[in-house]
Amino acid sequence: MIRPAGEHGLLVETGSLELSHRLDAALRADRPEGVVEIVPGPETVLVVAPGADRGRLRARLEEVARRERGRAAAGAGAEQPLVTIPVVYDGADLGSVAALAGISAGEVVSRHTGRELVVGWLGFAPGFAYLTGLDPVLVTPRLDTPRTSVPAGSVAVAGPYSAVYPAASPGGWRLIGRTTLRVWDVAGDPPSLFRPGTRVRFEAA
């Protein structure tokens, strides 16, 4: 289903993050005329196209969504880049994550580095990526009281997600480590190492 989002926006319901990523990638690779923003979410992709022919855009989105749904059902692999992030696991909350999970700090590290994660979407702050696919044992609630400042490069977990803080900011996620890799640089092109769909592997440095 495609829902209207004002005069210039169409919100495509994908029902799954995987289809959101496929649709996002397909639209970026072959961008319909007039499209300014493509914003994937867990179950939707917002397409903003001021000045585009709305009927034509809607038909195009329906066609691409149908095609990508078919490819997903056929199990066709989606090409997504892989980023490896070296982490020093000495975060202030490593102990509390281990205690909540009932495992050792060392096992937190092996479980965090043991799986490939996928950037679900970005939000909260520029370059802040919600990394999905976290080992369920590491699912922990946010801190009761957020920190007023979390340093850039902090590697954290909260709920079913992991993240790397792109810049210093307040934050309520549990800090398990840090990386010197810059995931966000306004002078870079693109400015973000992550985009929706990027595969991510953490590695103990």
Partner: protein
């Protein structure tokens, strides 16, 4: 170069923002009342997208270290020569009062405000912190080289428009009880004090939800009327977050966004719903 002697209650540098980065978590930002910035730029012969100063409640004092052509558009400041270019000589001071109506006034300078761009824009993004700091007393603003001709010497400025926002239903009107859209339009809302460049926060009839639970976060557009659990709507302006998790009952038409951007705390505003595609 311009020295800010006093910024007034709140002033920022704004151009047309950073479109195209919403998927990286970057708000569009840019002038809240885009046609007014464009008009002010045209009056001084600038390309419409050059950076100017967005004043909130006027009140700024600007010292021009070099002479410059200047134009003002948006919320009218008394005695300030709105809607026509004027020359400020070197050493001249522009003292601006409070607007007669409206909230945001745009100061365009021939050549544009030439602070360093970030991600292709000189706009201050009040949500993410991208771009220059809001203006402070003592700030120095470089002015870019003039290009193009001054061709207009007077532009008819729009007067106060009725505070009516036309809304297209959706994308999530089905998250509300069937009467909610009628309720949105039934009585005026009052603009609250915590309104800012992110959104116009409103107080009035409560919009009741038909669905419990959380909406997975989804892309948001400028003009979205987002309804948090309080049932009190927020109209998203330029610095709105690119994604959000509260349902959007409708979206304000683009032509009415300048009206929304000029609403002051305490103003009343009505909605009308246009059924459409």
């Amino acid at each position: 170069m311009i020295e800010v002697l006093a910024p007034g209650p709140y002033a920022t540098v704004q151009d047309l923002g950073r479109p195209g980065h919403a998927h990286l978590g970057v708000p569009r930002s840019g002038a809240a009342d885009v046609p007014s910035l464009r008009l002010a730029n045209r009056l001084v012969g600038n390309a419409e997208g050059l950076a100017g100063i967005e004043l909130t409640f006027g009140g700024a004092r600007l010292l021009f270290l070099r002479g410059a052509w200047v134009a003002l558009a948006g919320a009218p400041l008394p005695g300030a020569g709105m809607g026509a270019p004027f020359w400020v000589p070197a050493g001249g001071e522009l003292r601006l009062g409070a607007p007669e109506w409206g909230l945001r006034t745009y100061v365009a300078v021939r050549g544009g405000i030439a602070v360093e761009p970030v991600l292709g824009s000189r706009s201050t993004d009040s949500l993410s912190g991208l771009g220059p700091e809001p203006l402070r007393a003592g700030a120095l603003l470089p002015v870019g080289p003039a290009a193009g001709e001054i061709t207009a010497d007077l532009a008819p400025l729009p007067g106060p428009r009725p505070a009516v926002l036309r809304v297209l239903p959706g994308p999530r009107d089905d998250w509300f009880v069937p009467e909610a859209l009628a309720e949105l339009c039934a009585r005026p809302y009052t603009v609250t004090q915590d309104s800012n460049r992110v959104g116009v926060r409103l107080h009035g009839p409560v919009l009741e939800r038909a669905k419990d639970g959380e909406l997975p976060s989804e892309g948001m557009v400028t003009g979205a009327v987002q309804v948090p659990p309080s049932g009190q709507p927020i109209v998203f302006l330029a610095d709105h977050p690119p994604t959000g998790g509260y349902p959007v009952i409708g979206v304000v038409r683009g032509a009415d966004l300048p009206v929304a951007a000029q609403l002051r705390p305490g103003d009343e505003v009505r909605f009308t719903v246009r059924r459409g595609r």
